[in-house]
């Protein structure tokens, strides 16, 4: 059987299985088992069991439960609410201040949580109703919240980065750190876009009632004081990696300890909260790692049948310009993310694209940062995007069609920043090079 039949057949079957509603891990297991039966017969079954064992015992993946646990502790202890009220007091009297607050909070939440869904769900319940009550434009409000929430997987810590780096076999620390500058640039671009839009059409952000915004200097100092403990967590996660003191997995564990300390400082810690956070983290971790473990064999099968190697040769013969291939790869990921879950796409794409990246001579950190941003956008591209669904969960009265319409301008801004990173690779590679 020729390589392209195997590759196209495998991918089509897998995507079809996803669309039927099969759990993603079951779809991978079914296709992998069928593939192994065809290639090796029954004697190949041991390979499936071994690939699950290898993925399940991968130390790098232990950062996933730790990052989730850190976010859960901060969320359940109400520490995040404190951050919200403190930041609210610090932002001055600017037109469209709720939009500005959304973006600033997103950056901070991004540095404390690795999951866009969690941030979107939280802001849809807290910020969005306030924005609507104050007469802010619903579409721009939703767009700002969804775009802001999407910064979480880009700014470290990030669960997506752990999975990408593990699958692509590159430094987790470097890929984590690579997200800092693009994440901040995205936040700045969102802010500029919103400010320009509001200045062109002031109806998008009405004048807020004065007395609510009168905050004394003392109150502002207290707000700053309340935010200081959160810098402990940011230091324990990002700082320890940058200083070379801890590996990403170790820094994730110290981040959990930091979250416990912050909750205690804010007098919001209890054993009940810790117990609930553990349960939630264990549940989500199992959900994610079972998929990763079940999919591992898919990439190996493609390699064993020679499909990946042949694809690399074919791609090289297509065009001499690697940037055309880069555009095509990004386009495929972008389109697939509109319909399929990001983790599933990642598990299919990474083993196929990895050898192509090496052959084309791209800097792996730069390339996988672009893929990371692309996958993150996948969370807000209609019709299927987990981040949008998480928002809808927090604001059930909003029609999905309105949510869909709200995100497109911000998706365009994401693409713009990706273009900037393609033109100026140092934006993604400068910081990791210092490690």
């Amino acid at each position: 059987m020729t390589w392209y039949v195997i590759l196209a057949g495998g991918l089509t079957l897998l995507l079809a299985a996803f669309l039927t509603g099969l759990p993603i891990f079951v779809a991978f297991l079914a296709i992998n088992t069928a593939g192994i039966l065809i290639v090796f017969g029954e004697r190949g079954f041991g390979l499936i069991a071994n690939s699950i064992f290898d993925s399940g015992t991968l130390v790098a993946l232990s950062a996933i439960p730790l990052f989730i646990l850190m976010g859960e502790l901060l969320n359940r202890s109400g520490s995040v609410d404190l951050l919200f009220t403190s930041m609210d007091k610090l932002i001055g009297r600017v037109r469209g201040r709720q939009y500005v607050l959304t973006i600033f909070l997103s950056v901070i939440f991004g540095a404390l949580s690795g999951a866009a869904m969690a941030v979107a769900a939280m802001m849809s319940r807290s910020l969005y109703p306030t924005m609507i009550a104050r007469g802010y434009n619903p579409r721009l409000s939703m767009g700002a919240i969804l775009a802001g929430a999407s910064l979480a997987p880009i700014i470290p810590p990030s669960v997506l980065v752990i999975i990408i780096a593990t699958l692509a076999d590159i430094s987790v620390a470097k890929l984590l750190i690579a997200g800092i500058v693009p994440g901040l640039i995205l936040a700045a671009v969102f802010l500029i876009y919103i400010i320009v839009l509001v200045s062109l059409d002031p109806k998008l952000a009405p004048e807020e009632p004065g007395p609510r915004l009168k905050v004394t200097l003392l109150e502002k100092l207290v707000a700053v004081g309340q935010m200081v403990p959160f810098s402990i967590i940011i230091f324990l996660v990002i700082g320890l990696i940058l200083l070379g003191i801890a590996t990403p997995t170790e820094s994730a564990a110290t981040g959990v300890v930091g979250a416990l300390i912050v909750s205690a400082i804010n007098r919001r810690f209890s054993l009940k909260i810790a117990y609930e956070a553990l349960g939630s983290a264990a549940f989500i971790t199992s959900m994610i790692i079972v998929i990763v473990a079940s999919s591992n064999m898919f990439g190996q099968l493609l390699a064993i049948t020679g499909s990946t190697g042949q694809l690399v040769g074919f791609v090289n013969s297509l065009t001499a310009d690697p940037y055309i291939l880069l555009f095509l790869m990004m386009l495929i990921v972008f389109v697939l993310c509109m319909f399929i879950d990001q983790i599933a796409i990642m598990l299919i794409i990474v083993p196929i694209v990895k050898p192509i990246v090496t052959t084309l001579g791209f800097d792996p950190i730069w390339f996988w940062t672009l893929i990371l941003i692309n996958l993150t956008v996948g969370g807000i591209t209609p019709p299927f995007g987990y981040t949008m669904f998480a928002f809808k969960g927090g604001a059930p009265e909003v029609p999905l069609s309105d949510i869909f319409a709200s995100v497109w301008p911000f998706v365009a801004l994401f693409i713009l920043v990706m273009g900037l990173i393609v033109m100026f690779p140092a934006l993604a590679t400068f910081l990791p090079a210092k490690l």
Binding site: F18, L19, T20, G21, L22, P23, I24, F25, V26, L29, A30, T33, F45, G46, I48, A49, N50, I52, F53, G56, T57, L58, V59, L61, S62, P65, L66, L69, L240, I245, A246, T249, E250, A252, A253, T254, V256, V257, Y275, L278, G279, A281, A282, F283, T285, S286, M287, I288, I289, V290, I291, A293, S294, F339, I340, D341, I343, A344, P383, F384
Partner: protein, 180 residues
């Protein structure tokens, strides 16, 4: 009818036992998470404050991760928590959605049972060969860790089976003309 009731009466305690094992396993998976946090935090403190790195942190974390993930897996299956793209099933009328969901549960059962069987064969082979985890500083028998993979998939297979519902609701008037 009587046979059905008898079967249900016999099965009920078994199903309760299965649920109890799942709940207990999920509690243990939380403990595994605590072990991971403690091991890595201890490692960082021991290495940088006391210049005394420990040999066991990576190994313990690796084992705790695998054991914890597969101990929690049946609970995820019980709560229908696995990630799936549900757009198409949600668009279907209830009658056809029910048929599709039953098929999904059945395929889930087959896939998990097949992997449990493959993993069990590996466990037996590892036990007989006294296979060790050779990458470890102090190797331990591989079956100590891999057995939990078998547990996770076997128990999940049983939940997929338990969630099966082949009873198809009668079509409503509005659905009669719809074809799959």
């Amino acid at each position: 009818m009587t046979t059905g009731l008898n079967a249900r009466a016999i099965l009920a305690p078994l199903l309760r036992a299965h649920d109890a094992v799942t709940t207990f396993a999920f509690e243990l998976s939380k403990l595994c998470l605590v072990v991971i946090v403690f091991s890595f935090s201890y490692e960082v403190v021991a290495r940088y404050f006391f210049a005394a790195p420990v040999w066991w942190a990576n190994e313990v974390v690796s084992y705790a991760l695998c054991v914890g993930v597969f101990l929690a897996m049946p609970e995820v299956t019980r709560r229908h928590g696995h990630v799936a793209v549900t757009v198409i099933p949600e668009l279907l009328p209830p009658r056809y959605r029910n048929i599709l969901l039953s098929c999904i549960q059945f395929v889930g059962f087959l896939a998990c049972a097949a992997v449990a069987w493959m993993s069990l064969n590996q466990n037996i082979s590892q036990y007989v060969r006294e296979a060790l985890i050779i990458a470890a500083v102090r190797p331990i028998p591989k079956v100590y860790i891999s057995a939990w993979i078998t547990f996770g998939f076997l128990s999940s297979a049983l939940y997929f089976l338990r969630n099966l519902d082949w009873r198809v609701p009668a079509p409503s008037d509005g659905e009669r003309d719809i074809r799959l």
